[in-house]
Symmetry: C2
């Protein structure tokens, strides 16, 4: 059947799942949270340090068919997934499901384990590199599930994903498992994704390269949830964990789009003292800060809170007092990591607090503005951030669908075309954020407002912001680069894109090899 955004969802997938019905359709649903099965430690033990990663895996009782989880705060510098999976493979354990907050090129070695049947299930937000290719080419024996950051927490907190063992790479830990995102030699700032895993996994293993005196406080992960601590030489490559701050884009096109985003923001009733804000880490999104700063000073208004993946431009405004506090679920650069240490108004939050749609109210529910990028956006305002123009998985829903659904004003900023590929199109390859969560599209060729938001159309018009329609923008894109050929897929479904509420938003089929 077709779901609420017109995507055909095969019946066999709807046995245990519902089709997407709209962004707030499940509001108010009641459910009972699951709990982990744990082992009581009544008798005092001085330390939980295991002799090796292998010892910890064995002592946790890992068996064929189980689910292991990982986080991606160490980003492209992560060593933990490969270290753990190598030990698991060496132990001869197979048929595992990886439930990760994201996987990428750092985990290319795991692609082979997918082909070999060591890994037969994959649940993740991001998927890139050889793992993306392996899944797109049908190598994974089950259907992968792609979720937003909030959707991942939801699935855990609703019991759809049961984590047998969470392996949590932590920059610092004490011998009892109080672990922190800050400090050490592989500093990633926060451990927001892992905070959830630690509370719901049966077994929790901290993997660290820097052991601290007990108690290592305040902890991101509490020792009361930790079974074993493993000390390794290194959990990651610092240079790739937190990059130098991306230099603010000087591209005139990016700057023009960023300036237009701020014009849109300023035309809404939400742009007032105490507003809240999230921006993605893309060039035009980041450049928005450059135009926000003088306008906030001119209007004498401050941002009450900024959220999201945090970057240097956010931290700069925090330090200047233009942002009152930062709530942080992930750090993208050195400036953000450093700010977690240094600024008392920079707070770590769990991804449940950030974006779980099924708790009693996540931070995204209180967002005024979010500014995000897109690989594609179609004339129904549906956004794709996961499949490339070749149909291969190489992206991440991340917090995109969560912030979009929560914010009062969701702005997608993207150039109309990239190379020979139209960004604005008739039909995105894969929908990752549904159009009913998207309010405004800012491109280098014009601005379009979702017709569902007549209030915004009126507000922007009142501020003399010239508006286009998204169909006109699509036509413009097609006139520039032509209508792209449809991609060709096999029937086999390789991945499900879950909406953040657990319904099925879209599916990804196995790509047919490109033939000249």
């Amino acid at each position: 059947m077709k779901n609420a955004i017109g995507r055909e969802i095969p019946d066999e997938l709807l046995v245990n799942a519902e089709p997407y019905k709209g962004n707030y359709a499940l509001d108010g649903v009641e459910y009972t949270k699951p709990g982990p099965t744990v082992r009581a430690s009544i008798k005092p033990q001085e330390s939980k340090i295991a002799g090796s990663l292998r010892d910890a895996i064995v002592q946790c009782g890992l068996k064929d068919g189980m689910t292991v989880s990982f986080h991606h705060h160490l980003r492209d510098g992560d060593y933990v997934i490969n270290l753990v999976m190598k030990e698991i493979e060496a132990l001869g354990i197979r048929d595992l499901t990886i439930a990760a907050s994201s996987v990428g090129t750092a985990h290319d070695p795991v692609a082979k384990m997918i082909e070999d049947g060591v890994v037969t299930g994959l649940q993740t937000s991001g998927i890139r590199g050889r793992m993306g290719e392996a899944v797109s080419n049908g190598k994974l024996r089950t259907t992968a599930i792609l979720r937003s950051h909030g959707g991942r927490v939801r699935a855990i907190e609703q019991g759809e994903v049961h984590i047998d063992i969470a392996f949590i790479g932590a920059p610092t830990s004490d011998e009892y498992g109080n672990a922190r995102g800050t400090g050490g030699k592989s500093d990633c700032g926060v451990l927001s994704y892992a905070m959830v895993d630690a509370k719901y996994a049966d077994k929790v293993v901290i993997v660290t390269d820097t052991l601290m005196d007990f108690p290592n406080f305040p902890p991101s992960i509490e020792a009361v949830d930790v079974d074993y601590v493993v000390v390794v030489d290194s959990i990651g490559e610092p240079k790739k964990i937190a990059s130098q701050a991306a230099r603010m884009s000087q591209d005139p096109r990016d700057l023009m789009m960023a300036e237009n985003c701020v014009r849109v923001m300023a035309a809404t009733p939400y742009f007032k003292d105490g507003y809240s804000f999230q921006a993605g880490a893309g060039g035009p999104s980041l450049a928005v800060y450059r135009f926000l700063e003088p306008l906030m000073i001119e209007r004498k208004i401050k941002m009450r809170w900024a959220i999201g993946g945090i970057t240097q431009p956010t931290v700069d405004l925090l330090n200047k007092g233009l942002i009152q506090c930062v709530v942080d679920a992930q750090d993208f650069d050195i400036g953000a990591v450093r700010s977690v240490h240094e600024n008392p108004n920079h707070y770590e939050i769990s991804t449940s607090q950030y974006a779980n749609p099924m708790n009693k109210g996540a931070f995204v529910n209180k967002l005024d503005f979010v500014i995000l990028a897109a690989l594609e956006i179609d004339t129904d305002f549906n956004v794709n951030v996961v499949t490339g123009s070749d149909g291969i998985l190489r992206g991440a829903p991340g917090g995109h669908p969560d912030a979009s659904a929560g914010a009062k004003c969701t702005i997608i900023v993207t150039p109309l075309v990239r190379g020979r590929i139209p960004t604005v199109c008739e039909r995105v390859v894969t929908v990752t954020t549904p159009g009913d969560s998207v309010d405004v599209l800012v491109t280098d060729y014009g601005i379009a407002v979702n017709p569902a938001r007549q209030d915004l159309i009126e507000a922007l018009s009142a501020h003399k912001i010239p508006l286009s329609t998204i169909d006109a923008l699509k036509d413009k894109a097609y006139s520039m680069v032509g209508r792209p050929d449809d991609l060709e897929f096999f029937d086999r479904i390789v991945a499900i894109v879950e909406a953040r509420d657990g319904t099925i938003l879209d599916i990804v089929r196995q790509i047919k090899p490109y033939e000249l």
Copy 2:
């Protein structure tokens, strides 16, 4: 049958429970934690503020027979239990169980609700005042359950107590329910007991008298767990919430006992740089700090962490750098409350982190020393801190059994007699901390070491600390004030004293009125 400490536990109580089998008997037990039944808030809502306490109670769906929970961080100054129970009574709802971390004289009005059947179940650590009298006199229609602080968390985290609605008095909250123990006009420092309730209760209502801007961070209680916020005029009487620091005892007897406690500590192998420590809030326990300070300076050692109910003397040593950090589950005076705000090395922890015996390792498991008081201690080292010499409930197991079971060296400090009542006796009226958790008794007439701790007997002897036996101390007490008459009880069991692991440690029977 008789349990491991020789207390006769009637068979009818052993249908759903086990008798106490020793302090680490259940080590390693596996169980599945329960989860609350919650309502998803996907659609953004600006505020969770309810019009009134009554509105919140009604909207939460409170019904006859349900369980409501409260914490006692506001101590003798608490208004919240009475405010909530008055509204519940006015709504005509009956047959409720109160699951509180403690109740006391502040809640005398609830005693009448026990008699009237509004409250028919009571689970608490402390019980004093008219509620204690009501239960002791058989007015409660079911058997009350008394638990330690760690035992209370255990019961919640093992699903034995299911909280339908948690009413959490909070010094500050924002409109979304991010609540803190600090700030406002009814400052209690931390919300450690309530942190657990918020995670396991189906519905959570924050009751505050000070509304803060969103986000009120960092929160003790996270908005993601909160259904409603109710703003009232006052949640407590500040003077009674945090008392002025108790003046350090000048009583020569207290000082002599305190000095002996420190001599005992210094004679053990645990008294070295980096040691950990907890002391109760009684006069001799507090006076221990006075003797610890010069000795630590002389020996050039520091305390790594202090824990527990926190008091001014703890904070003084923290500020002097002799304690490196304080982990705090309750504040007993203004100095402790202020320190939570001011000292970055003073950390709030949940009572699960503090003392739950069934998680993967609580703080008490890593304790070197704990120094605690007793109403009575018998020749098997069993301690009573809950029933008075008249057999009436007027005390609290609190963290006593938890810290005693966890610490490497548990010292009970108490005068040999109080008035005409022997403290050291043949058989305590009620066992609240089992003797297998107690290592040393320090009195004003001598020191006795539990024979199970030959290592400590040798260590103390090597340091030429004169030792008595606990039988000799009991004989001395009886020679001074005579052997007390046995109290007389009816058959009816009015309260069960649970060991921290959930087994039955002892029972309390209905007291017979005293006849001249």
